[in-house]
């Protein structure tokens, strides 16, 4: 018994010790970002780093929101990410439903393409897409980026959602259809409410892609006032230099907060969606 308790204690100590080390690594940059965004200049350029601001100030937020286009960047990102999410939801739900419920020719090939489709080198896709979108006059437009992001989210989301739909029993729609619903009606009234968690995961995934993406936005957006946040913050650092860390960290917090909120609400679904294809219980 005593040995059992001691062994248990060792396990606890090892687990906590490791978790403390690893969460310092993963969370410290966030802690640093957040506290520094409330620091005034003198607390930023110190030989001995200040962990907690002694005199917290909102000056950095005030500055980036009034003196820089950060607010504008924020709205650009919000617009692009929201439209991308809505588009991806509609397209992905339709495609995943067909993959999950119907037998048809090329089903397997389509599956292969969905899995492999987003593994190709980003730069290799960027160049021809840039050339094509230039021809279509879609470079430097929100629409151009929205199209690219929707497509970027599509393959993996469709596959992920198909995995989720597979776990929803087919009898659900069948019985609704026997009761006189059309297939579309059965999907809308019976199937979608049950499949909501999977769809939420797709929403999070698509939103995250559009919110975080950098390379395509950097290449495609020419006008400063159309920059999304990711390109905007990098541009700001480029012109202001790295001397204004307080301002940069305030901008960083603005970028992270929406994603973080979204993540806290939906992480359970995201995790189950992501692992659905990989782990079978």
């Amino acid at each position: 018994m005593e040995q059992f308790v001691r062994r248990r204690l060792v396990r606890y100590v090892l687990a906590y010790g490791w978790l403390l080390i690893i969460s310092t690594f993963t969370a410290f940059p966030f802690f640093w970002m957040l506290t520094s965004s409330f620091k005034a200049r003198p607390e930023i350029f110190t030989r001995i780093p200040v962990l907690f601001p002694q005199e917290p100030t909102l000056a950095n937020y005030n500055y980036v929101l009034t003196e820089t286009p950060a607010g504008r960047y924020f709205l650009n990102s919000l617009y692009i990410a929201t439209v991308t999410t809505l588009l991806a939801l509609v397209l992905t739900t339709l495609g995943a439903y067909a993959l999950s419920r119907f037998q048809f020719r090329m089903r397997r090939s389509l599956g292969v393409w969905l899995i492999a489709g987003q593994m190709f080198p980003g730069v290799l896709m960027l160049i021809p897409l840039f050339v094509t979108l230039t021809r279509l006059n879609l470079v430097n437009t929100y629409a151009g980026l929205i199209i690219v992001y929707t497509m970027g989210a599509l393959p993996f989301s469709t596959w992920m959602l198909k995995g989720y739909f597979d776990t929803v029993p087919r009898e659900l729609e069948d019985s609704a259809m026997i009761d006189g619903c059309s297939r579309v009606g059965a999907i809308r009234r019976v199937f979608l409410p049950v499949a909501a968690p999977g769809i939420a995961a797709v929403a999070l995934f698509a939103f995250t892609i559009a919110w975080q993406e950098f390379m395509f936005a950097l290449t495609m957006m020419k006008d400063q006032e159309k920059y999304p946040l990711s390109v905007g913050i990098n541009f700001f650092v480029g012109i202001a230099g790295s001397v204004v860390w307080g301002n940069i960290m305030a901008m960083a917090v603005l970028i992270i907060v929406p994603g973080l909120i979204f993540f806290l609400f939906l992480q359970r679904y995201m995790i189950s969606g992501l692992t659905a294809g990989a782990v079978k219980g």
Binding site: I22, T26, T92, L94, A98, Q118, F120, A278, K280
Partner: protein
């Protein structure tokens, strides 16, 4: 689908067409077309066109395309002083990141699989880099790595591990490792999530049975955990390999390939050729080389995922 409600009789040809369109075998395609057509247009077409461009010299301004055969590839492998270095960096970068991310992810997921208080909090903390865009990660880490005002140098000097300030990103010896740290930071949550999900499918009774049969902690790890994690582990490794190999954002922001090309990766090299030097064909050739190198992991990954489904 709504053809049945039409009351006016259709001419025979149309009638047959309408019957065929409402046929069960056609139905899937109504659902699929909105997904498949954009997918083909925006993944298949760019891929084929990208491969085609690699065999041309393409001028972005006068839109002049000249087929030059394998010229770009020959130039790349024989005349470009950057290519082999970038390739070596890319491989070192990818292998290092994948190995370290896997090991850290494994330990973290095992610790998180213990039934301990505050488990949810620690899981949240381990997953948090996920919500941080690579650009923001790069900028924050740049400050942490700063030789004079950075937290890292301060902490290491306080601990007595180094005796003078190191410019982590500016020093040719440390720059690649520093960029790897940022990439590992960003990829770790994925590894933890996958491996944790894998561990949670391992029934507790198996460990109890192992313990009764006299297997120690290490023995149980070796003979129960490792084999059962095999599949999830393979998927996690393949995906991180592909992502790390293709990575662009954080290195572009952290170093842009410098100092002295010590952090030059193939993706950065391709990007600079395309959008700084406007050598579109040449840049595509670099992309095609990346694609060829990735064919094996992409194939293995696709096969693994399909196998799991069937």
């Amino acid at each position: 689908m709504s053809t049945k409600t039409l009351s006016v009789p259709l001419p025979e040809g149309l009638e047959r067409l309408s019957r065929r369109l409402s046929n069960r075998h056609i139905t899937p395609y109504y659902y699929l077309l909105p997904t498949v057509i954009p997918l083909l247009l925006l993944t298949v077409y760019p891929l084929l066109r990208g491969i085609y461009l690699a065999f041309t010299q393409y001028n972005l301004y006068n839109k002049d395309t000249t087929l030059v055969g394998a010229f770009n590839f020959i130039e790349l492998t024989t005349n470009d002083t950057l290519f082999w270095g970038a390739l070596a960096n890319n491989i070192l970068w990818t292998v290092g990141i994948v190995a370290i991310t896997y090991v850290l992810g494994l330990f973290t997921s095992i610790a998180l699989n213990e039934n301990i208080p505050l488990r949810g909090l620690f899981r949240g903390l381990a997953l948090i880099p996920w919500v941080c865009p690579a650009v923001v990660a790069a900028l924050t880490w740049r400050w942490i790595f700063d030789p004079h005002f950075g937290m890292l140098n301060y902490a290491l000097m306080e601990l007595g591990l180094i005796d003078r300030q190191i410019g982590w990103l500016g020093d040719k010896n440390t720059a690649l490792a520093a960029t790897m740290v940022v990439a590992i930071w960003k990829l770790l949550p994925f590894s933890v999530v996958m491996l944790l999900a894998g561990l949670q499918t391992v029934p507790e009774e198996l460990y109890e049975a192992g313990a009764i049969d006299g297997a120690g902690v290490l023995g149980r790890f070796r003979y129960i955990t490792v084999p059962l994690l095999n599949r999830v582990g393979k998927i996690a490794i393949l995906l991180t390999t592909i992502w790390a190999f293709n990575h662009f954002d954080s290195v572009y922001v952290l170093t842009g390939g410098g100092p002295g090309d010590t952090t030059m990766l193939l993706s950065i090299m391709s990007y600079l050729n395309a959008f700084r030097f406007f050598k579109i064909g040449y840049a595509s050739a670099v992309g095609v080389v990346m694609l060829i190198l990735l064919l094996l992991p992409i194939t293995l990954y696709t096969r693994q995922v399909l196998e799991d489904v069937e």
